[in-house]
């Protein structure tokens, strides 16, 4: 009997663990504590046992009943405190999710940085007039950029803007000086498309105009902006560059982010990456937009958002960006 009682105890413990609801618990309770339970049967049959054994088995039976009663009580409390919801919590959820263009993501990141520095984000039309795209930017009528080879011209004499710089002019006309603006947007050049060239690409133009704005200020601001964009302090340097709307004009390089200036294939072993053209706003450009170059000076810069997106996501074919191919583009999530 003693062995059977031990066996019953073991069996009860196994069963109570797998009980998931109150109905099952009631069944277990009745099975082990009910009048027709085996324990009750054993207790009834004890009369026939010798006194010593009766005492011993009786004590065992009572102990087991108490234990079972206690366990049932605990299980009951556990089940009551638990909700009755019963479903597979690990089932997959809907994996559908939308995506933004990498250009949109990168553009917003840059704009966020510039807004923190007090820049206002402005826009301008993609189909521009000659004045805003060229004349007002000191690009003379004889400049090669105006050729059919470089610019898309429309039959009404307008053009698809070749850069975001016309937004500078529109902002100067609208607000005058002082000024601190950034203009992201789409630009167009008459180019054959291949893995490295697109006729439709995205730029961001930045401009600061105030009294006594210097080249040293330009260096400071550009270093700050690029450090924020790349999430670490970057080293920058200026080289001469020629753009008709700035004078002096610079090419701004950052110390290669891959090799940290040691030289690698990305930076063609130079240790530097050419990143953005910039310069002091040309006095003629200020004058054209009715800002007195004898009072105000300023700087402007252009950041290639397409290039930045390609760098960020390691995209090696520019055509992907305008492909409308969701297999490619849906990877970019929402940042």
């Amino acid at each position: 009997m003693k062995d059977e009682l031990l066996k019953l105890k073991k069996q009860f413990i196994e069963e109570i663990v797998s009980v998931r609801n109150l109905e099952e618990l009631t069944l277990i309770k009745s099975k082990y504590l009910g009048k027709k339970s085996r324990i009750s049967e054993i207790m009834s049959s004890m009369k026939k046992l010798p006194i010593e054994e009766k005492r011993e088995v009786g004590a065992l039976c009572n102990k087991l009943k108490n234990e079972i009663t206690q366990k049932v009580k605990e299980k009951n409390e556990e089940l009551i405190s638990k909700s009755t919801f019963d479903f597979d919590l690990t089932m997959p959820i809907n994996k559908n999710r939308g995506s933004l263009s990498p250009i949109t993501i990168v553009g917003k990141e840059v704009c966020d940085v510039l807004q923190k520095l007090g820049f206002t984000i402005v826009s301008g039309p993609e189909i521009e007039d000659e004045y805003h795209n060229f004349d007002a930017l000191n690009i003379p009528s004889t400049h090669p950029a105006r050729d059919m080879q470089d610019t898309y011209w429309t039959n009404s004499g307008k053009l698809l803007r070749t850069h975001t710089s016309p937004c500078q002019v529109r902002a100067m006309e609208k607000y005058g000086a002082p000024l601190r603006i950034a203009a992201p947007g789409r630009c167009f050049r008459n180019e054959d498309i291949d893995a490295c060239h697109e006729n439709t690409f995205f730029q961001l133009e930045g401009m600061v105009i105030d009294k006594n704005v210097s080249i040293s200020n330009l260096l400071y601001v550009m270093k700050g902006i690029l450090s924020e964009i790349f999430g670490k302090v970057v080293e920058v340097r200026l080289r001469p560059g020629y753009f008709p709307f700035v004078e002096p004009g610079f090419e701004l390089d950052v110390k290669c982010l891959i090799c940290n200036g040691k030289g690698c294939p990305t930076c063609k072993d130079s240790g530097w990456l050419e990143l953005c053209p910039c310069g002091m706003v040309h006095p003629k450009v200020l004058k054209m937009s009715n800002i007195d170059p004898n009072i105000y000076s300023g700087f402007a810069f252009g950041i290639g958002l397409t290039r930045l997106a390609m760098m960020k996501y390691h995209i090696n074919d520019i055509r992907i960006l305008n492909s409308c191919d969701l297999e490619e583009l849906s990877q970019f999530d929402i940042m």
Binding site: I121, N212, N217, Y242, E247
Partner: protein, 776 residues
Amino acid sequence: MLISCNLLNEFIDSKQPIDWLNIWDKFTMTTAEVENVEVKGRDISGVLVSKVKTIEKHPHNPNYTVLTLNIGCKDITVITSAKNAYVGMVTACCIAGGKINGKNVEKVEFLGIKSEGVCLSEKELDISQNHDGIIDLPKSYSIGSNIKEYVNLEDIIVEIDNKSLTNRPDLWGHYGIAREVVALIGAKLKKIPIMENDTHMEGHKEKLTVNVLTNYVNRYTAIKVSGINQKITDINMKVILHHCGYECNILTELITNYVTLELGLPIFSLKGENISNICIKMFEDEESGDLNITKDNIVVCSNKKVIEVAGVCVLGDYVVTDKCDCVIIEIANYNASLIRKSSISLHNRNESSIRHEKSLDPEMTILALKRCLYLLKEKGVTLNLDSYVEDIYTKKQEKNTVKLTFKKLRSYLGFEMSSEVVTNILRKLGMEVKLEEDCYIVTVPTYRSTKDIENDADIIEEITRVYGYDNLKPEPLKLSLDIKHDENSEYLKEYDLKRILAEKYNLHEVNTYVWYDDEFLRNVGIDKSYCEEIINKPSNKYIRDELGLSVLAATIKNAKKFSKYGVFEIGTVNVGKLVKRQLSIILRDSIKNAESCYMEIKNIVQGTIRILTNHDIRFVEDEPNNQYMDSNTVISIYVENIYVGQIGIANLSITKKYDKTSMMVIANIDFDKLNEIEKTCHNYCKPSKYPSVSLDYTISLSHDEKYQMLEEKLSEYQSLLLKSYECIDVYNKEEERKVTIRINISRDDGTLKTEEIKDFSKKFVSYLEKHFKVEA
């Protein structure tokens, strides 16, 4: 542009040898971008001047010859396949143990005969592209000496990015680069030797008449010479020209190209026989061969025949050949942009026209001509000067004078730079500087006055670049507090909307082109030829006047890869003369899910417009305003009674061409109009503290009756108790639909009484029954 450091050395007088390998980093940082530095000739060694003593056919292979060469100290045997060897020829042989292009030369046995070296062609020695035979060296070279004693095979060739020289006409020649290097390292620039007005210049026989009949010629300098057909060459000039990308086979070419390399000016030579007069004019009706010359081209004519398209090319009959003895050497300076247009129109942009486009200094033409004559004389050519130097200088290039105030310089630099430093830098660059009380007066040399240095900012650039941009310390920008602008940028609004569409509605952003795709238009049978046209785009030239069609094409493109998806774009369109921004959203699903898909896009449109404007929107059944929506499926979208766009299903006749089982529902929204709608702010309305009562009514609508009609009637119903209503259920049954409406009524001043509820219900049902079949 390729630059030879050997040639630069000719112009620089430096006490210390110049470290040509390392100077170019500084040049990049101060002047123009150096793209590549290549060391030439150091991989060639053991090449001796040798004399051919005997020539025999190879006994086992007649394509080869066995040469006995004297290399000074001894004779060696060399096998060659070259056919031009002759006894007595002086040539170059790389003997065993030497190197050619980095490869070791060893003794090898070829069909039983040992070859102890390799005879070399000009190409193998990197002297020219000529690989027709072994090099024929001058007989004056000492046999057995290293070829490098005579020929400057070693050089450093530098490639400078042409784009970074666009604004520096003075740097298109080696002399200009040398002038810049001299300023950077503090050396002296040598004077370039030219033929002075000596007896040679006066030995003319006839007059060359030159007439300039157009304002587009700044200067035209020419001379007629004869005696040019002489077998004279200069191997070192040839090497430099080859390293810099020029191949020259005749003497005139060698000299004129060399001077072009030196001074940057393009120089033409023309057959001189039969030419005694030259006229430079805009083309009219002169004989011009097969060239499509127009009235916009400047031409050089003689006897009513075009002999040259100015600055672009010499016509075939007048091209100098090795048989010419009499040539006209011509150096001109034309209007830069006209030459560019001319070369583009003739599809002939070449070295000459590209140089002419840079607005070179006209002061240089006479110098270049005299340099050509000097070199011809120096190389031993016995020249006859058949004419005077004709020099028509119509637009004298003046030196620019620029005033730079101390204040302006300080403002640009952010610190005070001493006048000593400033003047020192400017003078090193060849400028004259005069200090006045508050400014510098700078006189700019002509070679930098054509289009380069015109104002004070240009002078500041010169000072800062030579001072070194690396020496400028970053300085924080003092933020002006009186910035007036605080534009609520469309760009940021667009971003917010894009994010909602992607994040909340799982849509994918696409970027389509601003022009229509011709093939797609053709396939779907839509004509857009009335749209604004890009005149210099051969295909896909119509600028879109609506975004939806472009996004539809993008959606179709993905149809084979995905079954259910949605895309969107905010993009530019050109409507009439207005440039506008539109938003297009397209959902694609199977035809059987058309209704749910349609409702989904309505939900998206409503959700996004509410977020942007905080206004409710109204949908009204309408006719499509485009050619690709199914007219039975179109609703117009109104916000505050302003039309902002349409929703509709794309015609199945279009989409089925690409995708038979699915449909695409499109929402086109005028983003500019949406932007004009001011975002509303609803006033707080205290909820009634008394309980409201909900009453449900089921209305039967026939097939022809639309929910829109029911909604109109509900919105017209007047009752102070009616607080809101909503459609809670729709049951479709063959010819009839049952729509259940939940009406919420309450009073602001007390609990509704049963009688009031009954009374409302009675009146409301009675009102509805006038229009519809109602079940309370």
